[in-house]
């Protein structure tokens, strides 16, 4: 069930990234292409079979997990910044890309690397699931490492959430409002991820569902808005061709 969710999410992200190649080549909003690529690679790295192979190349020290964290930070930063700009929310932009946002990101990056290096991470383990069992000290380190990893997406999500939520109720084209609703679900899931330690451990699959919901909704929300813009510019071109653009409504 979880594997199916993973591969579906991967397929959606990969499809979006491939579909975005032509416009990236033309130089239109390459960061959106970047978000799709980062999300695709991140999903790929979280799949057990792929993780095992890649990590064996990287020396079986679970550096792949560290790489995965940074891919996620990158995707979250890029998408948060782009979306805040699109929905014209000054406070969100400042909190994500201003001094505060960069400060938060730097602290989290340093903490991530430090906690990873301090912990005993030898031997490939997807999702680092069995590492905490090695020693009480390792348990504390790995759990903090995971908590810090969820903190940055939650921080960005909380910054951007008001902007996307507001857009749902505004008088905008339906496709944009649908996209905003999907993005709101995505960011709400990311924000909720900080509360994972509160979820009982026998309900572990809930965490995966929330994580993949976030990625699926983020990708599809972005894709929705993008497709609507393509359709709008096509309609506009047709109008111009007929000389109708200058007519009053």
């Amino acid at each position: 069930m979880i594997a199916m969710l993973q591969w579906t999410t991967f397929a959606v992200c990969a499809l979006a990234a491939v579909a975005r190649i032509p416009s990236a080549v033309r130089g239109e909003n390459r960061s959106i292409f970047g978000i799709f690529v980062l999300a695709t690679v991140a999903i790929l790295l979280s799949i057990d079979a792929v993780y095992t192979v890649i990590d064996s190349w990287l020396g079986s020290e679970n550096y792949t997990n560290l790489l995965l964290r940074f891919l996620i930070y990158g995707a979250v930063l890029l998408s948060g910044y782009r979306i805040a700009k699109a929905f014209d929310s000054g406070t969100s932009i400042r909190r994500i890309a201003g001094p505060v946002g960069i400060g938060v990101l730097s602290l989290i990056c340093i903490a991530t690397v430090a906690l990873f290096l301090l912990a005993d991470t030898a031997g490939t383990v997807t999702g680092l699931t069995t590492l905490p069992a090695r020693s009480p000290e390792n348990a504390a380190l790995i759990e903090s490492y995971a908590a810090v990893g969820r903190l940055y997406p939650s921080y960005v999500a909380v910054c951007i959430l008001p902007a996307t939520y507001r857009a749902i109720g505004q008088r905008l084209p339906k496709a944009i409002r649908t996209g905003a609703a999907l993005l709101t679900v995505a960011f709400a899931s990311m924000a909720v991820a900080t509360l994972f330690p509160l979820i009982p451990s026998d309900l572990g699959y809930v965490e995966s569902i929330i994580n993949y919901t976030a990625v699926l909704c983020l990708t599809s929300g972005l894709a929705f808005v993008w497709v609507s813009s393509l359709m709008a510019s096509r309609a506009l071109r047709r109008h111009r061709a007929l000389g109708l653009a200058a007519l009053p409504r």
Binding site: I83, K85, F87, Q170, V225, W226, A232
Partner: protein
Amino acid sequence: MPLPAKAFQLWLHSVAPTASTADICRISGIKRTTLAQQLVRGKVAETTLVSISRALHLSPLAALASFDSFADLSSPPLPTPAELVSQIATMDLLRAVISRSSPAYGGYGDDGSSRTPALSAAPHATSVRNWVDSIDDGELRHRVSAATGIAPQNYSAQLTANRMSPELAVATARAAGIGFTGGLVATGLITEDEAGWPPGAKQAALDAVSDGELTALAGERLLSLGKTLRRQEQEQAQTQKIWENLG
């Protein structure tokens, strides 16, 4: 509530006893599936009735009047002058202002001129709101929402969208204590002719408006048009920004 299907079928049988449903749909241009669906649900839209009566060369007003909910339509009083003026498009009002101005500004003086183009047919782009404004004594919206149970914000939304169901138009007219035809014309269900308005009624009502009143009215209309356009431009700019960043 739209028309009950049973009463509708009785009416259809009385006006076209020999026609099959397929014939009715063909001559009135209604899709067969649409009519079938309305009959199955037990509610037939007034627009369906109006299209069929037009196709059968019957008066849509008389057809509507044969139903209980529109019974008061059988001998409709003429709309008030204010209602008639409300059904004149904003651009026609502005043209009337210019037409009454001195020749130096392209007008013909006080009395207007036969060269002023004829008024366009109702309904216009803000017909519904202007009609309600023209009959509102300040408490009308409260009375309508008390009588029909529609929430005030839903009622305003309908005015903004320039849309109103025939039932609500009738309820509004009833709450204002006036004839029903103004609302049915403003919502576009029937034409001015079908409503029994004499040709030139709007023009006559306009001619009776003083220069001061006309100018003030045109000013109000321009103000609200400006607000609408500004809001549209804002939404357009917002949409553009979203597409620029995520498109």
